[in-house]
């Protein structure tokens, strides 16, 4: 059954509808892609549980150490892999979280520019962190 027929059948049954005719005319309502953002926020959250705990444990192991000890740690394959994964998950999660906060509190023209700026900043910081990690991991 196609969606249009479903809508017509629903219109024929005289059930009260939650969407007002004005809201329908204005095109308000679901943009149909909200679930993907919601889901990715959860997936990155789950990934961040072990990654951030690994990071905290690593900082503890590094406490009191110098630059050479830090480089030696980040050059190990596990540490550089986990750091790249941490940065990717962290900044994806941050971008999604910031978007939710902006959508909740910014109702002016600034909403879309703020979301775009947050996305750009998160992506740039993520790439900067990964590049720094790779420079250390692959450097001599």
């Amino acid at each position: 059954m196609d969606r249009k027929l479903d809508a017509e059948l629903l219109a024929m049954t005289n059930r009260p509808r939650l969407r007002s005719p004005l809201g329908r005319a204005r095109g308000l309502g679901s943009a149909k892609d909200g679930v993907a953002a919601w889901w990715l926020e959860r997936v990155t959250a789950i990934a961040l549980v072990p990654l951030t705990l690994w990071f905290t444990a690593s900082l503890l192991a590094l406490s009191g150490g110098d630059h050479a000890a830090f480089l030696k740690w980040l050059k190990t394959p596990l540490a550089s892999l986990c750091m790249v994964l941490l940065l990717s998950a962290l900044f994806s999660h941050l971008a999604l979280g910031l978007q939710v906060v902006i959508e909740d509190y910014v109702h002016s023209w600034a909403k879309i520019p703020a979301i775009v700026a947050a996305r750009f900043a998160c992506f740039a910081l993520c790439v900067a962190g990964i590049l720094a990690t790779l420079r250390i991991a692959l450097g001599t």
Binding site: R42, A45, I46, L48, V49, T52, L53, T56, L59, L60, A61, S63, G64, G65, D66, H67, A68, F70, L71, L74, M83, L87, L90, F91, L94, G97, L98, V101, H107, L125, A128, G129, L131, A132, T133, R135, I136, G139
Partner: protein, 132 residues
């Protein structure tokens, strides 16, 4: 939310008595924003380490200063609050733990666990750095 339609708005948040549920909801959002600032610090730290031992030791000097240590302690607590609160949210997303009594029990667990984990992390840090 468009205010131009002239429809009545729900009462302002300030008229409600703060409750554990609302305070933790707000705290989760606030700690998330704060962790965003610490994520920037993480990248600064990594870039400094990649730039050489001089920039790295500048960052380390700041971290070991009084302000740096207070910020690091506050960041640790924010991190564990957001982590524990986030795990609580994941249980809700799975459709579990919505009974009012369970919500209060899980809320106090988040507060207690974040405090215990923060203190435990710092005790471990002091023990490890003093043993070097």
């Amino acid at each position: 939310m468009s205010t131009s339609s002239g429809r009545p708005l729900s009462p302002r948040l300030q008229i409600y008595r703060p409750q554990l549920t609302s305070v933790l909801s707000f705290t989760h959002r606030l700690t998330g924003l704060i962790m965003g600032l610490y994520a920037v610090a993480l990248v600064v730290w990594l870039v400094a380490a990649a730039a050489g031992s001089q920039p790295y030791s500048s960052v380390q000097t700041f971290i070991h200063s009084g302000v740096g240590q207070v910020l690091l302690f506050a960041g640790t607590w924010c991190f564990f609050l957001h982590l524990c609160g986030g795990i609580r949210h994941l249980f809700w997303d799975a459709g579990r733990g919505f009974e009012l009594s369970t919500i209060y029990v899980s809320g106090w667990i988040v507060v207690a666990a974040s405090a215990v984990l923060t203190v435990a992390t710092w005790i471990a840090s002091w023990m490890l750095s003093s043993s070097r």
